[in-house]
Assembly symmetry: C2
Homo-oligomer: 390 residues x 2
């Protein structure tokens, strides 16, 4: 059954090798003054920075560099918004991965707001306007290029927020898979793990439909098959193109249109891990995934595992349901391990003594114990998942 | 591999039982004066006409009724555009199926154009502006509610055109599956056949990707499973909701993003059948489908059939490829027959003596023999398909 939903994604995707040749025409439709945002300089290494500057030689470009992996309100968002106001920026051009995009989204609303920008991001005040965003994606992972959300940290007040508003949809996303050829094996594995987790968060929900289930299993199959090819041959265009496209479907709702909202509990847990230990988001998710699955396995949920077992992994249909579920959990564990992710939180720097505190933090940020979460998780459950993940 | 593509669908889908309660708020965002378009009166039988009038009692409503099944430029589009200009219409509200929607799309651009509207529809002049369209869908079939195309006939000059422009995307589509409970078995079968054909036109293309293949097979599985349930129990909400949602994906490109354009040859053939004998579009497509498949089966195409055989129908993987293909073709034939569609053109009123003329007509309208068509079809091939379909 398709449950009630509202869906709208106005972003234009322009996909393929060499598509940024269209950049000048696209940018011109928004104005002459551009805030160009990027991260630590990988776009310079691959020649993309120079390419963009050459293509946009007739525009006024204001730059905001060094955007952090978990992007920060202070300094990046504040500085970017200030630049937009001072320089009369017409449009933001984000060149990078999900962090650069998320930061740019936050800047786009703060640039059009006279008060304290954090009031928008923290949901105290609703944004009324935003600068348009165009992006050139260099990492397949978060899906930020096709959704209206961002995650921003405010270190000074130990806060990290997922912020969403239809104003944040990028106007145009340029997706050229060749820009991901140089992504490291670690980032390739973690980006894919992030996307796989986006699918699973939405797959474990209710009600279900034949159509949505099939789409999600197809997304998982594509991600799990193509990441192995890309890890072996980083310049395999076919594999990189599927990874880039499938990842873009992660978070705008289309994968689960008509399913109930699941609460995205694995993301709630991982956000705490990243906030406490600044670990790589995708790695945290990969490590948590099989432990969360084991925690929620029950008579209510076992059908989801059976569907994954038969449709995704091709396990024999006559396996007893709970045996099938165990095999599915083991298969995800092995898969992530094979992509190079150490499957223990201790190995990525998480300290066991913080587990209780993190569990409290999770419940304070997102109420994973709420009845509308697919399987509600109270403090004891969160502690079990985190301990099993160590 | 994901081939190059550009994709954008700005339409907002509002899906679920009772969603039209939001209609006044949505319409108010576009203005006060509405052109309400509908067809032969089925919306009165199911109480939807009265419901809409009651909900919109504070608006000025201009009505255009009796829109034809294959909507006509003259009188419907001309009359609608004239009404919009005379009455200062702000927004069109289409209440019905694909024909009412298609007609409304044509009206939306003609209402904003001072010259001869057919010049827009026939592609002689590019439209610059359009009235916004909101729709309430009552038939799961064409996908017009989520795409930017329409098909319009101009009887006086024996012309029928598929016309597309990004201006034609509906702004908001209300999808309430309960409005399809009263759709007849014949229309249910033909609407589903139309949607199945939309998927197949895009499935038979090159290159292919794991992700797109999986989505399309999921769409086919959902359509083929749920139509049988809906035919048995027309008020089965779960089945009707899947049919309505999957059908909406038919024609905006998302099913085949990244595949090469196939040319949609079965639609080219069917448009000629409808133009000559005014048959039901979905029935024509169902009858043509297995014959077209048999015509194009070759070393080049057999892999597509094998994928359908193993993934959709679950045939044994060790079947020889061409045997598998024959079983797939037979399976589609039997499926359409089981839904109540007579699988011969003669049974729906097509006369064999027109086959040669229709083949010429097809080639004149759409060059199905062009090299970019997935399998180019010359006159002899078209005649073979039509003769086999009789």
């Amino acid at each position: 059954m398709i449950a009630d939903f509202t869906y709208q994604t106005p972003t234009k995707l322009i996909f393929g090798k060499g598509v940024i040749e269209d950049l000048p025409e696209v940018m011109a439709s928004f104005g002459k003054t551009i805030l160009m945002t990027y991260g630590g300089g990988s776009i310079k290494k691959i020649g993309l920075y120079d390419k963009v500057k050459t293509l946009l030689k007739d525009f006024t470009i204001v730059e905001l560099a060094d955007i952090e992996p978990n992007p920060k309100y202070d300094p990046s968002v504040i500085t970017g918004a200030k630049l937009c106001k001072e320089k009369g920026v017409d449009v933001i051009l984000a060149v990078g991965g999900g962090s650069v995009l998320d930061c740019s989204k936050a800047i786009s609303v703060c640039a059009k707001y006279d008060g304290e920008g954090w009031d928008l991001i923290s949901g105290k005040v609703q944004a009324k306007d935003a600068l348009p965003i165009v992006d050139i994606l260099t990492l397949a992972a978060t899906g930020s290029e096709f959704d209206s959300g961002c995650v921003i940290s405010y270190t000074a007040i130990s806060d990290k927020r997922a912020y969403g508003d239809p104003l944040l949809y990028p106007a145009v996303s340029f997706l050229d898979p060749t820009y991901t050829f140089s992504v490291s094996p670690w980032q390739t594995a973690c980006g894919t793990a992030d996307a796989i987790n986006h699918v699973l968060e939405q797959f474990f929900s209710s009600p279900t439909s034949l159509f949505n289930d099939g789409i999600m299993i197809s997304a998982l199959r594509s991600l799990m098959t193509n990441v192995k090819i890309a890890l072996k041959d980083p310049k395999d265009y076919a594999a990189r193109s599927e990874l880039m496209y499938v990842c873009s479907w992660g978070c705008n709702g289309i994968l689960a249109n008509g399913a109930g909202y699941s609460g995205w509990p694995m993301h709630s847990i991982e956000h705490a891990l990243s906030a406490y230990f600044d670990i790589t988001h995708g790695a945290g998710l990969a490590i948590i995934t099989p432990r969360w699955m084991r925690e929620i396995l029950s008579e209510k949920t076992v059908e989801r595992f059976v569907t994954l077992g038969t449709s995704l992994f091709g396990f024999p249909k006559d396996l007893p349901a709970f045996d099938m579920a165990q095999k599915v959990i083991d298969a995800f564990y092995s898969f992530f391990e094979e992509t190079g992710i150490p499957m223990h939180l201790a190995a990525v720097g998480v300290k066991a003594e913080k587990i209780g505190e993190m569990a409290d933090h999770i419940l304070a940020c997102d109420d994973t114990s709420a009845s509308w979460v697919y399987v509600p998780l109270d403090k004891a459950a969160l502690v079990r998942i985190l301990e099993a993940s160590m």
